[in-house]
């Protein structure tokens, strides 16, 4: 049962991020919410990498100590982190531009495109 605790944390983190995105009014807080969701996803991938009885996928540590787990989830997580970094940087730049243009960070006022 304790093995499922990480998945629970992933779920809680994801929901926290979602609630932040759905209820916050400030653009920066929304960006933080998206970052929390990304962290939850990365944690999910890392947790998936562990198999019962496996060891870390580092070559000299694993020698002769049983089976090492596949390093694929680590590679996936790293790629996801790189992508998350790119989007976070872009998102913050856009927030900065939005603030310059609209003079506010409140999403209730940034809605020129409608209808």
């Amino acid at each position: 049962m304790i093995g499922n605790a990480p998945f629970l944390i992933v779920g809680v983190l994801f929901l926290m991020g979602l609630i932040a995105v759905l209820t916050e009014k400030n653009l920066v807080k929304i960006a933080i919410g998206i970052s929390i969701i990304e962290s939850a996803t990365n944690m999910f991938l890392i947790v998936l990498g562990y198999r019962t009885g496996g060891t870390v996928p580092v070559r000299f540590l694993a020698a002769g100590e049983g089976v090492m787990v596949l390093p694929t989830p680590q590679a996936l997580t790293l790629t996801a982190i790189v992508i998350a970094l790119a989007t976070t940087a872009l998102m913050l730049s856009l927030i900065m531009l939005l603030y310059r243009h609209y003079g506010t960070l409140n999403i209730d006022e940034i809605r020129r495109l409608r209808g």
Binding site: L18, T23, I107, R111, R112, R114
Partner: protein, 113 residues
């Protein structure tokens, strides 16, 4: 290459349509050639009639703007369109909310069905 496209119920043949258009355009040109050519250019016969008023110089004063097109259609369906424009509120929270709600509904239904 020029054969017909069978759709199971009927077929579509581009050649017969092209022939139809040729015949139709022939008739149109023929009717046009029956018109009179003896109007005098530069006289009153050549001018625009605008309900007896002087015709404005600038064309923008006599065009119908796009917002006025299909005014009756929009007026008749006003309640429907008020709902639709309210959905497209331009509010990011609504955008994300519709997405999350759709995902949640479909994920719940797929487990039940």
């Amino acid at each position: 290459m020029w054969s017909k496209v069978y759709s199971g119920f009927g077929y579509w043949d581009v050649i017969s349509w092209l022939i139809f258009f040729l015949i139709a355009s022939f008739f149109a040109l023929w009717l046009r050639s029956l018109g009179r050519r003896d109007y005098k250019e530069g006289t009153e016969q050549d001018e625009i009639y605008w309900s007896g008023n002087p015709v404005p110089e600038d064309g923008s004063e006599i065009t119908v703007p796009a917002s006025s097109a299909y005014w009756g259609f929009r007026k008749a369906l006003e309640s429907y369109y008020s709902i639709l424009t309210n959905i497209h509120s331009g509010h990011m929270r609504d955008y994300v909310g519709y997405f999350v709600i759709t995902a949640a509904v479909i994920a719940a239904l797929i487990l039940i069905v």
